[in-house]
Symmetry: C2
Subunit: 285 residues, 2 copies
């Protein structure tokens, strides 16, 4: 396996992207913050199947972290990431540093209204502004035909899809299923923070989502009842601190009191240093 | 002269832009709100010299008008514009309608901080958010290599240059000199609103800028003195209502009290229905 080429500047990324496009090839982008897990690798596999050249970006984006969040502690292992990307079919790594992305005098931001009001948007003010801004920059630098995001970050995927459509970006946004551990815990770089005890308790997130799915399948339509049952289950785990549990319409991400159609059940729960998120889409039909 | 092709949808614009790029040709974009005058035509000429294919966009962008502004009255003459664009070397017109640009559920906006705080940014809240958002959309739709803006809208040009650089848009932003009437009045679609009396008085804008230039050339360095002289001159015209007269650093568009280096002298003055802007860059060296 050849070493995967690493690009660190916007200007070189533009040049390489133009060359790939001039050759008539399709570019697939997988944006990541590095410390890759099987979730990322499945996104790379998806990109491999949709595009001729797969670019994986690695950038721990400071503007999407709040001041009290885990930016400083965020795990990094560039050489391991580079090896994995090569093994799983990535062609290029785009890894600019913070100075390249946000030089002195930087002043431009992208906002998506509405969709960012609830869920993580409510508990992490400024987070989605950071995400939409950096993704706009990554799209502009890499010039992908298609970009792959994970369903684990369901709100992020919806926001980026809306943004790409609104801003007329010629990028197809695809969303790939969440990859889980055997006990159902969604794969996440932040699982790395979990102590053995926290790791064991964290499987309750998936159990709560499964329980909600069963309740809806059995005919329950009241959001407060479903959320109440989920909350009760999670609160039994002493190390779990619930940030939110919400049920929103998959179309506009606004809360639903009475379920009908497609509902996104989403939650964020803190275990020690790790703020974990997960979600499931359920249907009343 | 053949009829200039008109494109009205984002998807067709993407397709045509991709085709031009696949042919190895350079795209030049001249964004306009239509009702073209010699200022626009000089931008088209500049684009003609820098690019192989010139796209002129025509879109009266509602999001950059305030509720009390002249959106409804803004002059339109598409057939005249189309003829002029053909005569002056444009190859394509991109003219989406408001529904194509801002469909129901539209939610995404681009902001540039800092540079938008003074001048028109202060007197037209939301104006530059509308401008940066629509220009991002036009860049994404037309995929230009180069885009040409007019120096008459000096703040707009600075904001868009900042935005393109910040968001890593692979578009060269060029700024072309202001085109003036024989008495110095800057060409503007809004001059159309002026009554004969207002039109005659409006030449005072250029006179005030020239006076300021002379004062600075003669060694005056105090912003309040220069601005005071400009204000006095303009206030002698009974139909003129000053919106602002400001002196700002050309780099960051922040007000300067003591002149040094490059100073942007900029003003906005209302004559009846027409809010006119103009500016001049002066040097202390």
């Amino acid at each position: 396996m050849a070493d995967v080429k690493v690009i660190q500047t916007v200007s070189e990324m533009h040049r390489v992207a133009d060359q790939i496009r001039a050759d008539g090839l399709q570019i697939g982008l997988v944006p990541t913050m590095g410390f890759l897990h099987e979730g990322h690798l499945s996104l790379i596999g998806r990109a491999r199947r949709c595009a001729d050249r797969v670019v994986v970006s690695i950038f721990v984006n400071p503007t999407q972290f709040g001041p009290q969040e885990d930016l400083e502690a965020y795990p990094l292992d560039f050489e391991r990431d580079r090896m994995l990307i090569g093994d799983f079919g990535g062609d290029l790594i785009y890894a600019p540093d913070a100075e390249e992305m946000y030089p002195e005098g930087y002043a431009s931001y992208v906002d998506v209204e509405g969709l960012t009001r609830h869920l993580c948007g409510a508990s992490r003010p400024g987070h989605f502004r950071g995400v939409t801004t950096v993704v706009t920059k990554l799209f502009a630098a890499v010039k992908p035909h298609v970009a792959i995001f994970g369903q684990k970050d369901a709100q992020q995927a919806a926001v980026i899809r809306r943004m790409a459509q609104d801003l007329n970006l010629d990028v197809e946004v695809l969303v790939s299923p969440t990859i889980r551990e055997v006990d159902g815990l969604a794969k996440s770089s932040r699982n790395f923070y979990l102590s053995p005890e926290e790791r064991q308790e964290a499987s309750v997130l998936y159990q709560a989502l499964q329980k909600a799915k069963c309740l809806v399948a059995d005919g329950e339509r009241r959001a407060d009842v479903v959320i109440g049952e989920m909350r009760e289950l999670i609160e039994r785990r002493p190390l779990a601190q619930i940030d939110y549990i919400e049920a929103v319409d998959t179309a506009d991400l606004q809360p639903m009191e009475e379920f009908s159609g497609e509902i996104l059940l989403a939650l964020a729960v803190q275990f020690g240093k790790a703020r974990l998120i997960d979600n499931l889409v359920v249907h009343t039909a």
